[in-house]
């Protein structure tokens, strides 16, 4: 008789970093269940839970033993050489008299039947769990005491029990001196001491009694519920922050929400500063007054109840916050003084001494490049070149501010405030804030021309730079977030409907790296050039500069970088358009066309083609095109000639043939001007109208006619189909 016991595992340790808990729970579940199933133990359901001090896994409806398995292996002939038979026996783990000889059409063959008896669940669990504990994939793990076991922090106890109708039974096992047991601990302060449990249900109940909420999502819900209630009661609202909520839920076993005050002195700090300071240092939620939009209170989450209802804890937290905010206010006031005294360009001065990247120069050099590029891009986006250049000069100034030094995530936000304080307007403050956008796929894309100019210049400079020095993203490694920069560029271009030749821009910009980043080598190159051209002094200095830039470009192979970067853009574009339901082969068909570095054009073409392919005519036309193309290609290969022109209606024999001539004439008349006007939809619509005449033609006409003139004429007619269709997109790239 088999029973289906439930398994409960708890790995109890010192405090696990909040950011690692969720993943660890998932890993534990996956590793244990995979290990059990691999060993033949199937189960009905499983769930993992985490608190700061424990990883818990419950597996329900487990087989109480693994099934017996039989494996039959065919061996050599019974009269095979001794060596072969020995090898076979060794492999099967059997002796000569344990294998049987069977008569087969090929003679007497040895067969081994290996029977593996089922093993009790407990034995398998102990083996699986021990292995998992020893090899657990923590992002960072450590040793402690005199032992050699590694865990995220010292591991104290392992609870591992199997529960069935007969009761609970500890799975016998041990890892580095920690024996599997049936006990755990409750809340560190509110319910110290160990207790034993008999099942997952019993475990959950006893933990709750011992002031531990096992389920992180239950803790998060409780926190959010209590926090919003507390704020609501004061006519305020909590600023939502899902990341913070899940982190805080990982810092407590028994969440207690407390709402505290922010000192009056600090209420005038920018809300981003208050929010960041409270979140980063103290893990506080911000509480906003919906009437004023100001952040006026905070929510902290304690890990315990106290006799004074948290009064001491709250007073301590308020005190700490005051000290923190005093620092923030100090930075804010210093920064404001700096911008008032020397302006943002003055604030930006120290950036000359800050390295952006050792091969890409200082932040100041980077800013100078962005400025030049923003000026060039300004006409494309409809911004004033001088203003775009000015914006580019100041948008990074806040990187030199004290506030951003302390809170790097406030870059851009502070720039906006400091630009306002320095008296800038005309969209400059907004450009400071917006030029980093879009950061994520759901982030808004800036639309003001100046923000767009600087945002594009910033991203293209970064991409060009890293391509020029050949530090491209590989696999999962993308330390400079270049994929994000490329996607940002794509969205800026597409959503603002810009016409921008990416490769040309990158190629021209890439030369600046050569010129500015390898000064010494270029200086040497320049003096060599001067020596070689004795008349250099008489030459126009611009010409000399050009020669030096060319030298720099040659050094970094800017040409190759710009082509490779374009391919990277195309890859990113595929990902982006795939999410919008456009197939990758459609994009390939369009990338193969002229003008593929104009992303707006490329996407227009792809969207038109995608739309056309969704129509019945469009889909069938592709089949017709492919048929025409195949026949033509085969004939060209066989005949060794290219059929490219000369189809003449006077050799047409069938009415369907004549009709195709007419249809092609009509379509050509529409497609050519539509393509000229980049009206891909009309061009493709006109192309799709060919579907009926092409189908009818193939139905009625045999291409390989006996009469060679007629055959040639028909092949040349097919060639017209090919040429016309390929003028719209490279349909040969389409799949299916």
């Amino acid at each position: 008789m088999t029973t289906v016991p439930d398994l409960l595992i708890e790995l109890f340790s010192e405090e696990i970093p909040a950011r690692m808990q969720k993943r660890a729970g998932e890993d534990l579940q996956k590793l244990v269940t995979n290990g059990l199933v691999d060993a033949g133990l199937t189960y009905a359901s499983a769930a993992a839970f985490t608190t700061p001090r424990r990883l818990t896994l419950t597996v329900e409806g487990l087989l109480d033993q693994s099934p017996t398995t039989r494996e039959e292996r065919k061996g050599p002939k019974a009269d095979a050489p001794e060596k072969a038979i020995e090898g076979f026996l060794r492999g099967a783990g059997l002796t000569r008299d344990q294998v049987e000889t069977r008569e087969t059409p090929k003679g007497n063959i040895l067969f081994a039947v290996i029977e593996k008896p089922g093993r009790p669940a407990a034995e398998i669990i102990a083996e699986v769990l021990t292995h998992i504990i020893r090899t657990f994939p923590w992002p960072k793990s450590m040793r402690w005491g005199a032992g050699s076991l590694k865990w995220v922090r010292p591991l104290h106890s392992i609870l591992c029990i199997l529960t069935d109708e007969a009761g609970a039974q500890v799975v016998p096992g041990e890892v580095d001196g920690i024996t599997f047991g049936d006990t755990t601990e409750g809340h560190r302060f509110m319910a110290p001491g160990r207790f034993s449990v008999t099942s997952f249900e019993d475990y959950g109940t006893k933990l709750k009694r011992a002031h531990v909420v096992l389920d992180a999502s239950e803790r998060a819900e409780a926190i959010w519920h209590d926090a919003t209630n507390a704020a609501f009661a004061s006519g305020l609202e909590v600023v939502e922050d899902k990341g913070l909520l899940s982190e805080v839920a990982g810092l407590v076993e028994w969440p207690v929400v407390l709402m505290g005050k922010i000192g009056d002195d600090f209420l005038d700090l920018p809300p981003e500063v208050l929010q960041t300071s409270m979140k980063e240092h103290q893990k506080f939620f911000s509480v906003k007054n919906p009437k004023t939009g100001r952040i006026e209170r905070f929510i902290t989450v304690a890990n315990r109840e106290t006799a004074d209802n948290g009064a001491t804890i709250l007073a301590g937290n308020e005190k700490v916050l005051s000290a923190r905010l005093a620092d923030a206010k100090f930075f804010w006031e210093n920064d404001l003084r700096t911008v008032r005294d020397v302006g943002l360009e003055g604030m930006a001065k120290p950036l000359a001494d800050v390295t952006f990247h050792n091969k890409l120069g200082s932040q100041a050099e980077r800013v100078a490049r962005i400025e030049a590029l923003a000026r060039e891009l300004a006409p494309v986006v409809g911004a004033k070149p001088d203003l775009a250049a000015e914006a580019a000069r100041i948008v990074k100034a806040d990187l030199a501010s004290e506030m951003v030094y302390e809170f790097p995530e406030l870059q851009g936000n502070m720039g906006k405030y400091y630009a306002q304080a320095a008296g800038h307007d005309d969209g400059l403050p907004e450009a400071c804030e917006e030029h980093y956008s879009p950061l994520g796929p759901s982030d808004d894309v800036p639309t003001s021309p100046m923000s767009v100019a600087v945002a594009l210049a910033d991203k293209l400079d970064t991409l060009t730079g890293f391509w020029v020095i050949d530090e491209k993203p590989t696999g999962s490694k993308d330390p400079f977030a270049l994929r994000r920069a490329a996607l940002g560029t794509i969205r800026l271009v597409l959503e603002n409907d810009l016409t921008l030749k990416i490769s040309d821009t990158v190629f021209e910009h890439g030369k600046k790296f050569g010129a500015s980043e390898a000064k010494d080598r270029i200086k040497a190159e320049a003096s060599r050039l001067r020596r070689e051209h004795a008349d250099a002094r008489d030459r126009d200095s611009e010409e000399m500069d050009e020669a030096v830039r060319a030298a720099g470009a040659a050094m970094f192979n800017v040409d190759e970088a710009s082509l490779d970067l374009l391919a990277f853009f195309h890859d990113r574009l595929k990902v982006y358009l795939r999410d919008q339901g456009i197939r990758h082969d459609i994009i390939d068909a369009c990338i193969a066309m002229e003008g593929n570095d104009d992303l707006t054009l490329l996407v227009k073409r792809a969207k038109a083609l995608s739309g056309t392919l969704k129509t019945d005519d469009g889909e069938n036309l592709i089949q017709g095109f492919k048929r025409a193309n195949n026949i033509l290609t085969q004939a060209e290969e066989a005949d060794g000639v290219e059929y490219s022109y000369g189809a003449d209606v006077k050799f047409a024999e069938e009415p369907q043939e004549t009709a195709l001539f007419e249809a092609l004439d009509a379509a050509e008349a529409k497609i050519a001007p539509a393509m000229e006007a980049q009206d891909f939809a009309s061009a493709m619509h006109a192309m799709a109208t060919l579907r009926t005449p092409i189908d009818a033609f193939f139905e009625a006409v045999q291409i390989n006619a006996d009469n060679q003139t007629v055959r040639r004429n028909r092949l040349n007619l097919l060639s017209r189909i090919r040429t016309l269709c390929l003028s719209v997109a490279d349909l040969t790239k389409l799949e299916g």
Binding site: E14, E15, P17, A18, R19, P52, K140, S141, M142, R143, W144, G145, A146, G147, V152, R153, P154, H156, F189, M190, A191, P192, G193, L251, V252, Q282, T300, A302, N303, R304, E305, T306, A307, D308, T312, I313, L314, A315, G316, N317, K319, V320, L321, A323, D353, V354, T355
Partner: protein, 317 residues
């Protein structure tokens, strides 16, 4: 049901009472209560009782106060929390005992923190000292949202894996004491018992020195001399370590790990002074840190060759 905890411990009245209670608490837990190291250091970790003794296999348990100097943190005694000279309380136990967290919490109780009223949390904080070539995993301990200690399991020191692992506790004494004593400005904190005949505040003792050192650190210290001292300390450290293991005079095996390490500490402190004087650029910084780390590494290599570092005469065979 909340656990009844016998928190009958009284609240201390002065800075020194908190130190005295920590001393007697850790003495009671079996630590050798050492005195501060007699050199300028940036943190209690630099005391050889921590850096060197965390290496090798010999068991160790020590606790001590260490005056620490961070020249760049000087604020002329005006900032309520920042000082260029302050005190750390340091505990190092090797191998780390299984109940180290409980021992630590006991020390907070001993200095008057009522566990039933406060919220104590262990928040992830990995420790790394680029100058010592050391790292460990652990937490910063929060009391009501304030960091009151660093709690670290040493994994590597001076480039050597720690076997066994030491548990290190570092208390920032001023901040902790200010919290317990309810003081907002460090200079207002009672240093001795405020009810004695001559009550002294932290400011009575340190306000003037904070001013003097801030001026010297930031504006007066002779950078040329300091740069030379750095080079000399570095050279001396290497010279010491290059001596033969066997002393020609006594014929004994004497590896001078500690004298060499003193030079490493000296170089480290001089670097901090140069940094405060603003004469070290961002790129040079890394180079200087690397040079100190190289010394720390060599001292660690030497220490594990000594008896205190776990070397046995049989090892020589």
């Amino acid at each position: 049901m909340a656990a009844p905890m016998s928190d009958t411990v009284s609240t201390p009245r002065s800075f020194q009472e908190i130190i005295l209670r920590l001393q007697s608490y850790w003495a009671g837990k079996g630590c050798a209560v050492l005195q501060p190291y007699d050199m300028e250091v940036g943190a209690g970790t630099f005391h050889p009782a921590t850096t060197l003794r965390s290496l090798g296999t010999q068991p160790w348990a020590a606790a001590y106060v260490q005056p620490s100097r961070r020249p760049t943190d000087g604020r002329y005694g005006e900032n309520p929390n920042r000082l260029q000279h302050y005190y750390q309380y340091q505990v190092l136990i090797k191998p780390s005992p299984p109940d180290l967290q409980d021992l630590y919490l006991g020390s907070l109780r001993a200095i008057g923190i009522d566990m039933d009223l406060h919220d104590i949390r262990f928040v992830e904080d990995d420790w790394e000292s680029p100058t010592l070539g050391a790292w460990g995993l652990g937490w910063e301990v929060w009391c009501d949202g304030m960091e009151v200690s660093q709690f670290t399991y040493f994994q590597q020191v001076g480039g050597h894996d720690c076997h066994p692992v030491s548990g290190e506790l570092t208390y920032g004494l001023e901040r902790l004491a200010m919290y317990i004593l309810g003081v907002d400005h460090v200079m207002d904190m009672p240093f001795n018992d405020p009810n004695t005949a001559i009550p002294l505040s932290y400011g009575d003792i340190f306000k003037q020195t904070e001013e003097e050192y801030a001026r010297w650190n930031f504006d007066v210290a002779n950078t040329e001399v300091l740069l030379r001292h750095f080079e000399e300390a570095e050279a001396e450290c290497e010279k010491i370590l290059n001596q033969a293991h066997d002393d020609p005079k006594t014929g004994k095996r004497i590896i001078m790990a500690h004298p060499a390490y003193d030079q490493c500490i000296k170089a480290s402190h001089i670097f901090n002074l140069l940094d405060a004087r603003g004469v070290i650029s961002v790129t040079e910084r890394q180079a200087y840190i690397g040079r100190v780390r190289a010394l720390a590494r060599q001292c660690a290599d030497a220490f594990v060759q000594t008896r205190a570092g776990g070397w046995q005469p049989e090892d020589a065979a």
